[in-house]
């Protein structure tokens, strides 16, 4: 056991921190300090500009090979980068559904031609990818997908509807599952397709999330023709009718290591500690005496998440695959995120009603136990696959 960072990792961290600090400041200044939510039309453009800045300096996808725009950082270096990114208040990544959800599948299942085309354009933000999993009648029950892909000469005809497509209104491409065998049931007969959104017959309608951001979209497919050569290397990822297996690999990444780095929650916990200190300094009488205990508890929970991640990365580096315990991890960070923000709102008291970073963050956090597989589904998975309890 060694819980210190190597000199190499520290150097990487310092380089990242220096670059981030300077460039985050410059980005904010370019926009007169008025940074909108990345999930609105105007804000998305602001954030895309920031991500381009990251890409140009090689910080967009640090763990990727250099050929695709990364710097081949180790998992430890990636963790250190994320810690600095969040500590310095870096904004949420608007390209994350591509780089954290699709990319792992492209690395695992893509042909070299697909990798060479998709990955660099994704890292640079030239192509923005949204996910097309859910449908109006296929949410938690993903296997009941009905969107169809009909094989014809030279391509596919797409029909149906996807929904809850995060940032779909601002994206250029969609990845998702389509039923390619009309006779098939449940998780059989699905194909994982890569779909440019500018095809004839595709309509994208953005709609508002609970916090007002137009973070969701519905995507309608009305006999849209998807040519086989719409993308170099083809539009099928991982083989026809193999969609379920490819998608499951992706959803596992979604819950796992890459989407929710502990750096984000540790930074929030540190800000919560700072908020407590401020409120206490401002008016000790006004601070509920139970809140100090709650702040300490929240800080510990964030720290425990960091420690658990260090264990997981150690195992990953040793070549052991992440198991079903990623379900527990998803429950932990999503409930922690709400708890962190609720504690902050309770510290703010009546002011909590006014919009601000904590209020906005709280509204966003409420989605955590729902998306990426509801926490109820995760608890089922953990019980069955971690503990080995019998299925129904």
């Amino acid at each position: 056991m060694d819980l210190t960072w190597s000199a190499d990792e520290e150097a990487f961290r310092a380089e990242a921190a220096a670059w981030l600090e300077a460039n985050l400041r410059a980005w904010r200044e370019r926009h007169g300090g008025r940074i909108l939510s990345g999930d609105t039309a105007e804000g998305f453009a602001q954030h895309l500009e920031w991500e381009r800045t990251l890409f140009d300096a090689g910080w967009a996808v640090v763990s990727w090979p250099e050929a695709y725009g990364g710097r081949a950082a180790s998992l430890w270096q990636w963790l250190a980068f994320e810690e600095e990114y969040h500590r310095l208040g870096g904004p949420p990544r608007v390209t994350q559904n591509g780089i954290f959800l699709l990319a792992p599948s492209i690395f695992e299942f893509g042909t070299p031609e697909q990798q060479d085309h998709v990955l660099p354009r994704m890292a640079s933000g030239d192509d923005r990818w949204c996910q097309g999993w859910s449908e109006p009648n296929a949410g938690s029950d993903l296997a009941s997908i009905t969107s169809k892909a009909t094989r014809i000469d030279g391509g596919w005809i797409l029909d149906g509807q996807k929904t809850w497509t995060t940032r779909g209104a601002f994206c250029t491409h969609l990845f998702g599952l389509f039923r390619s065998d009309p006779e098939s049931q449940r998780h059989h007969g699905l194909t994982y397709l890569l779909v440019p959104l500018d095809l004839d017959g595709i309509t994208v309608r953005g709609f508002g999330r609970l916090d007002g951001d137009e973070g969701f979209a519905e995507v309608f497919f009305d006999g849209a023709f998807l040519p086989d050569d719409a993308l170099p290397g083809g539009v099928v990822l991982g083989g026809e009718q193999q969609g379920w297996a490819v998608a499951m690999a992706t959803t596992s990444s979604e819950r796992g290591l890459t989407l929710r780095s502990p750096g984000r929650f540790c930074a929030t916990a540190d800000r919560l500690v700072g908020l407590y200190r401020e409120r206490l300094a401002a008016d000790p009488e006004a601070v509920d005496p139970t809140l100090r205990d709650r702040v300490a508890q929240r800080w510990m929970e964030a720290e425990a998440y960091r420690l658990q991640t260090l264990q997981t990365v150690t195992r990953t580096v040793a070549g052991q695959p992440a198991g079903a315990e990623t379900s527990l991890v998803k429950i932990w960070w999503s409930e922690l995120d709400i708890a962190l923000h609720e504690t902050a709102l309770d510290l703010l008291g009546p002011e909590a009603e006014l919009e601000g970073a904590w209020s906005k963050g709280w509204q966003f956090a409420l989605s955590g136990p729902i998306y990426a597989g509801t926490n109820e589904i995760q608890r089922n998975i953990a019980a069955e696959r971690v503990l080995g309890l019998p299925r129904k």
Partner: protein, 357 residues
């Protein structure tokens, strides 16, 4: 000993419920939200895109039914109802998420100003629905800042432990000059349109410290009742949704996890509601524990409504997390009201003090 409402009280409740179902459906609540993007670029309300006159129509309809003067003595043109008579009406305004200063103007300011001899001559307007008075309890936020004409401050700040109700001039505009535009803050619940109290001048007290204390407890009670109503609304909405929505070939609501979430929600409401009704009785009868009971009501209703909101959202899944679906209107109102008029922790502190600890 008889812990139930009488037929008149229930009939009035039903009449208000019917009126609000007709005049205050979700699209009216939505219309009260500001239009256009907020400072994050987010759009939440329909504002002028909806039908703003309908917002005013609800208030007028309530005035016509006598509801706006419910707590004002008959001598001042009101119905002179007690807290026991009106607590269910407040609950219904919560159920409907009525986008008006009902608690402030109707439950608190009306009877308080009347008790003080109506120094500013506002009471007839309150009863008629033509005057609205904001009340600022404990802090600096004026809820319904786009709707109120005057403000009464209710606190213990400059007077030791005694409550005081201060009539003020100004406070609603941005600058010292009358007519300067109000600055409504972006807020969790856009319909509440809070503004931060600006420059104001005290023009006089409003009643005795006891009147002020009673006014505060009425505000806490009215808000607690609204929270119970909001909790019921969210639970109803969710029960309806999960009974219809199917996943894995069965209704979502047949899953044990969903059942237990909603049983927990029902549990909290089932035990918060009697605390609210008892507080109404304690205030109506001037019981010595009235302040403690009002605090218990507010603490339990705040926690219950927040829990119901969380369970409701979780059981809905993604649909509940959209602006287009109605749940968020109630969930955000509940979250705001849970901290308005004293948070659960603030009121538990008062209960603890009353228990001698």
């Amino acid at each position: 000993m008889h812990f139930a409402f009488d037929d008149d009280q229930l009939a009035f409740r039903d009449a208000v419920r019917d009126l609000l179902a007709k005049e205050c459906p979700p699209e009216v609540v939505r219309a009260a939200w500001p239009e256009g993007p907020d400072e994050h670029g987010a759009r939440k309300g329909d504002g002028a895109r909806a039908d703003p006159p309908r917002i005013e129509r609800v208030w007028v309809a309530l005035a016509e039914m006598g509801v706006l003067g419910m707590a004002v003595p008959q001598a001042h043109g009101g119905l002179g109802l007690t807290e026991v008579d009106w607590v269910l009406l407040a609950e219904e305004t919560g159920f409907a998420a009525l986008p008006h200063p009902f608690v402030e103007t109707v439950c608190v300011a009306g009877p308080l100003l009347a008790a003080a001899g109506d120094p500013d001559g506002l009471v007839p307007g309150i009863v008629a629905g033509t005057a609205t008075v904001g009340v600022v309890p404990l802090d600096d936020l004026v809820a319904w800042g786009d709707r109120v004409d005057r403000v009464v401050l209710l606190d213990q700040r400059t007077s030791g432990r005694h409550w005081q109700a201060r009539r003020v001039e100004g406070g609603l505009t941005r600058g010292p000059k009358p007519g300067t535009p109000r600055r409504i803050e972006a807020a969790l619940d856009g319909a509440r349109a809070p503004l931060v109290l600006q420059q104001w001048k005290e023009v006089g007290r409003c009643g005795t410290p006891d009147d002020a204390a009673l006014a505060f407890d009425r505000g806490a009670l009215g808000t607690a009742a609204q929270l119970v109503g909001l909790g019921r609304r969210m639970l109803d909405l969710t029960v309806g949704y999960v009974s219809e929505r199917r996943q894995f070939g069965v209704p979502v609501g047949s899953q044990q996890a969903v059942k237990h979430h909603l049983a927990d929600a029902a549990l909290q409401l089932t035990f918060a509601a009697p605390a609210v009704y008892r507080a109404a009785w304690s205030l109506a009868t001037g019981a010595p524990e009235a302040a403690r009971d009002a605090s218990m009501a507010k603490a339990m209703a705040s926690d219950a409504a927040r829990l119901v909101g969380r369970k409701a959202l979780q059981c809905h899944g993604a649909i509940g997390y959209t602006v287009e679906y109605d749940l968020h209107l109630y969930l955000k109102r509940a979250e705001a009201l849970a901290r308005a008029w004293g948070s659960a922790g603030w009121h538990r502190n008062r209960v603890a003090t009353a228990l001698g600890i």
